[in-house]
């Protein structure tokens, strides 16, 4: 009898020791939703690929637990994004969300995420998610428009600019960036701010108006418009008069392919510079190239970094993602050394990271690339300047 109970105790102990890790052997499920079809697919799909890369670099295992990524396609549409998010949370029971870059989809997801109290790391440009509508569950690894406006104003000030033209889309990001530039420069030093519509086919009428003496031109439009205005800026000989300084992803890697050869010398300031020589960036760029046969740009960088932040926070809580409060606390103070330097989240869960001045140059292969210039370390969203 004594014999038997000893075996039983031993058996229970073995069972118990098996059961203890068993719960933590269960995979951590992460919902990864990006626009993979539709108008923003050109940004969404590569960003999703970069998220995948970050986890592959960890062999899809963090703190001893398998990572399971569940992919969804938001199509860039708020209703579809919300439905897919609900499916991830309620059907697939994901532990956290690493999703999305489209503002309207982000706006639709925010109330649901708060109601479900599920940690959500996003690259949604919508700054209000970490401002007026900040929430314990929402983190953004993407600069706010105030943040990139501030960097542009600061770097040009270091270049001794005093007076400048400003042209940007008639849209919130460019308007907000303009507010910062105006504040830093003083209203009288920003000449004729102009806000044409998104997708203006011809910027020549605006550019040919810029005939006063100034130190340069700020341009805040993106995608096809940034290559178009650059081409027209050189065609009309403005490049012989004053430099063009793009705000945010104006000269980002994904648009450089479409820039005219004369774009050499155009500057910008942003959170990612493809040619920066750090071991972390080499690992990121080479890994991306090997996997997808393309050069990563700022969208891929932000997806990759959002994933890196999650990975580090999971390590900090030893994989115990089920303890939501502890995980959120870990994410709030996580520090990651990424391709561009140290990165973290601020008290509103907005991104804090290094920014760089970028200058377009011709690479060895004849293609345009960004030369990385001055670094502005640890830029934070200027909440005090623009509450």
């Amino acid at each position: 009898m004594r014999h038997f109970s000893a075996i039983a105790v031993a058996g229970l102990a073995v069972l118990g020791s098996l059961m203890q890790p068993a719960s933590s052997q269960e995979p951590i499920k992460i919902g990864v939703m990006f626009p993979l079809t539709g108008p923003v697919a050109a940004q969404g799909a590569p960003e999703r690929d970069a998220v995948k890369q970050a986890f592959e670099e960890e062999s899809n295992t963090v703190a001893g637990r398998k990572i399971e990524l569940l992919y969804e396609d938001s199509m860039g549409k708020p209703d579809i994004g919300l439905t897919k998010t609900k499916a991830l949370v309620e059907r697939d029971k994901v532990n956290l969300l690493l999703s999305e870059l489209v503002s309207s989809v982000g706006a639709a997801m925010a109330p649901y995420v708060n109601e479900q109290k599920i940690p959500w790391i996003s690259t949604v440009a919508l700054a209000s998610l970490t401002r007026a509508e900040k929430s314990p569950y929402i983190f953004r690894f993407v600069p706010s428009s105030y943040q990139f406006g501030l960097v542009a104003a600061k770097i040009t000030k270091q270049m001794n600019w005093k007076k400048a033209y400003f042209i940007g889309w008639n849209a919130p990001p460019s308007r907000e960036a303009f507010e910062v530039v105006k504040k830093v420069y003083g209203e009288e030093n920003v000449l004729e701010p102009m806000f044409p519509n998104v997708g203006t086919p011809d910027y020549a009428p605006y550019l040919t108006k810029m005939d006063a003496k100034a130190d340069g031109i700020f341009a805040a439009m993106w995608g096809s418009d940034s290559s178009r205005i650059t081409q027209q800026y050189t065609e009309y000989g403005l490049n012989k008069k004053m430099p063009l300084f793009g705000i945010a992803s104006f000269t980002s890697e994904e648009v450089l392919g479409n820039m005219p050869p004369d774009a050499v010398g155009v500057m910008s300031a942003y959170t990612y510079c493809g040619t920066l020589d750090t071991p972390e960036n080499k690992q990121f760029v080479d890994g991306y190239k090997a996997r997808y046969n393309a050069v990563p740009g700022s969208y891929q960088y932000m997806g990759y970094m959002a994933a890196k932040m999650v990975i580090q926070a999971l390590k900090d809580v030893k994989g115990q993602v089920e303890d939501k409060d502890a995980f959120i606390a870990a994410l709030s103070k996580v520090q990651v050394k990424g391709p561009m330097g140290m990165a973290s989240f601020d008290e509103h869960h907005g991104m804090v990271a290094d920014f760089y001045k970028l200058t377009v140059e011709k690479g060895k292969d004849g293609r345009l690339q960004n030369r990385c210039g001055e670094r502005i370390a640890q830029v934070k969203d200027p909440y005090d300047m623009f509450p």
């Binding site: 009428p205 040919t208 096809s224 290559s227 065609e235 009309y236 000989g237």
Partner: protein, 284 residues
Amino acid sequence: MTFWLVQTLNGISFGMLLFLLAAGLSLIYGLMRVLNLAHGSFYLLGGYIGLAIIHLTGSFILAVLGASLTIAVVGSVMERFFLRRLYLKELPQALLTFGFLFIFSDLATVIWGRNPEIIPKPSMFSASLQLGAFYYPSYRLFIIAFGLVIAGFLWWLQEGTQAGAMLRASVDDEEVARALGINVSLLFTLVFALGAFLAALGGVMGGPIVGVYPGADFEVLLLGFVVVIIGGLGSLKGALIGGLAVGLLDNFGKVFFPELALFTIFAPMALILAIRPAGLFGRE
């Protein structure tokens, strides 16, 4: 002074692109009473095919010819096998061409992706001319000259050739034209092909200035309609004057009222609709 000169040239060069687009739209409507909503697709596909040919051969002239001829064939197929069945049925026509607009738009996305592209300029016109303190891209001057040549050619085609006489006869009274032995059906196909040809021409010629990108089909279609509404549907002269008017209005509107960019085009359009519902050169 140079300011006005540069701005006026800008307006005229953009107006010439609009003319290329609107001429086809207007011709097709004038003859067949078809409001071709897929006209924007001809522009976009023309631009993309031109770009593909440039990447392949490096020749701008081949791109212009290849793209325009390909789209002319696409246009004639569309007319012969689809639109002909719906002759004079306005609503089904509108729905059919609208359907084609979406099909072509998605097709272009599938083949060429969503990245915006700019067509490289012919090297002959890659430089800028210096006008006093201003620089002016020579390519835009070329567009103006090219637009004028096309306008002259179309004028000659319509007024000075037998085909033009047949065309005018068919516009005036289709039944009598048929009775006189004019092959109106063939004429329909040819005019539709010519309209498609001109739109594709606009796409390739405009490519170095405005680029080719998803959504361009809808944008130019809208502007094309404004041009024909101002100029009058069915009139070549209207397409030219309307194109120049919209080009200049758009340009000076942007210069003087940058925040009201679209208003300066649409307000005059509404005014003309109120005063002359058929447009400046349209016939009741």
